[in-house]
């Protein structure tokens, strides 16, 4: 039985979306066991009248609510009975639980996970890895996307190893083509950290290192994993999302400027809906935290049921594929680089 915690509060569509997702995930995976955290009364009410395997669903009461403006460190320290912190503490304390999924505050989740959960032996710094769709229908993982503002070359190598194994295990990509985010293709580009990381990555057999990537080529489909420190990784992901959304918004606005365009757009209605869905990152699941001893998946705050279900699926596959053990095996080789 694979036991996964599901934080049922904190997202925009909570608790409806997580509860709906739980029902679907339980129906599809006969060895999945879910532990829902949150206000028990509210959750029981959501479950009323639904048919689900009662022996594979548990509720843990956690009535405290995390405010929008609360500092992550305060949440971790003071809100132990919130649905998110309760899940993190259970994950730490119960050996039978494999991982957790949350659509709550990213800052609180990362801080809580880093403070409360241990790391995989050898991992210096856990890192965030979201996935985005590429223009040829594939996926690309970016690690780190915001957990570490400053890094060393050794950190970047670890991010590459972890994200490569993640893309291979969870998405079935063989020898993921892994690139270092940089300002140019040549080995000597970027700062000293990037130049040194380039050398380290070239001599890491477990990483299929294909060189530096310019951010212009991010969606080209030529890369499966992009490695960066959390600051520019965050810029890469959010600029991609922002540009795509703004451009589609502009096209929509321009369509309404002329009757002729409106007519044309009518014929292309389905296509435009598809483009929008294509760029909707919800459809690809959540960001995973790589390097913590237990699995942590962060769904978008705006996640609907289908997206939360994808997050549960990600957590499930991370656990069943034995990702943590593989990360440990590949990373301990280099632990002499540890600071």
């Amino acid at each position: 039985m694979i036991k996964i915690l599901l934080d049922c509060f904190g997202g925009d569509h909570c608790p409806e979306a997580p509860v709906e997702a739980a029902m679907n995930a339980l129906a599809k995976n006969p060895d999945l066991y879910l532990i829902l955290t949150g206000d028990e009364k509210v959750l029981r009410k959501q479950l009323e009248g639904r048919s689900y395997p009662q022996d594979r669903l548990e509720i843990v009461h956690a009535p405290e609510v995390i405010g929008c403006d609360e500092k992550p460190t305060d949440v971790v320290r003071l809100k132990r009975n919130s649905s998110m912190m309760k899940a993190i503490i259970l994950l730490r304390d119960r050996d039978d639980i494999a991982g957790m999924v949350s659509t709550g505050s990213t800052g609180a989740l990362v801080t809580g996970a880093l403070v409360r959960l241990g790391r995989i032996p050898g991992v210096i710094r856990p890192a965030f890895c979201p996935i985005l769709p590429t223009m040829d229908g594939g996926l690309v993982g970016i690690c780190d996307s915001g957990a570490n503002m400053t890094v060393t070359p050794a950190h970047l190598r670890q991010f590459a190893i972890m994200a490569s194994l993640y893309m291979a295990n969870v998405y079935g990509i063989k020898r993921p083509r892994t690139a270092l985010l940089n300002v140019g293709k040549e080995a000597e580009k970027g700062d000293e950290i990037r130049q040194e990381a380039y050398k380290l990555l070239k001599e890491t057999p477990s990483v299929n290192f294909v060189g530096n990537m310019e951010s212009r080529d991010f969606l080209s489909g030529n890369y499966d994993v992009v490695v960066a420190e959390g600051f520019s990784g965050n810029v890469l992901v959010k600029t991609t999302e922002g540009t795509a959304l703004e451009l589609l918004k502009k096209i929509k606005k321009d369509i309404y400027s002329r009757t002729l365009y409106k007519l044309g757009a009518l014929l292309m209605k389905r296509m435009f809906a598809q483009e929008k869905e294509f760029m909707n990152y919800q459809n690809y699941g959540g960001s995973v935290l790589l390097g913590t001893s237990k699995v942590v998946v962060k769904g978008h705050g705006s996640s609907k049921a289908v997206s939360v279900e994808k997050c549960i699926e990600q957590a499930y596959r991370m656990e069943t594929s034995g990702l943590a053990a593989q990360i440990e095996k590949e990373i301990v080789i280099y632990d002499h680089y540890e600071e």
Copy 2:
């Protein structure tokens, strides 16, 4: 008379595009004087049969060619008779020349300008500032976009001062809304450099600092200047370009998948052409180097005549507005922060 050097070789459409641009710029600006650098024979041939004010156009022979793979430092040291290096040396040596425009190698231009030209008194590090179109029809400048891989908070403040004055003087934006690129809006986000820069910017009266900007909002039209170190600034600009181009390419491909879409696209042909033009950064001119003692404008390598002409116009306005003197005045106040 405003004298500007025009490097006529190095870009994809050279020397046709710069020569054509020179003709147009000279016709429009009666006090503009252009000095073309490059192979004199080739340039004379280009000018044959054209009518232009011969007393406002000069040719300086510079026959050496810069190869694609040459290292910037080698170019600066060894290719003194190339059209670019000749222009930089003339700019340094002749007091009557105000600035230069080039569509050649960015690396060679930046290295050459930093090594050969002096800085505006008080400026610690010159920085690159391209401009991009925002979705509401405005423009946003991003400084630095690649000249400085690592920075201090004092550098970031100088970038903000220089880029604000640039957007005000060249594009007529009053009190440009200036933001710091960061991973979140709150003052405590990002690394220590960002946190300290936030404080410095808040207490700089010559900068209309509006706080941190998340890269998702880059094209929103809410900002006139975005300040960053060169690495993430480069990621911001290139990701925006790349995402827009890839998305338009995908839409084009999808249109061809169904007859109905092809029909719709036919009605919207003009709109799609406009969107493409809108996202074509050539239409907005080049990137300027801010902080060097003389004006340096870098056009895209793929610049056609209209884009080179915009670059000449930028250089002209930077000089006639007295930008350098204003930068000096606002920056010397803070020179106790110099390293």
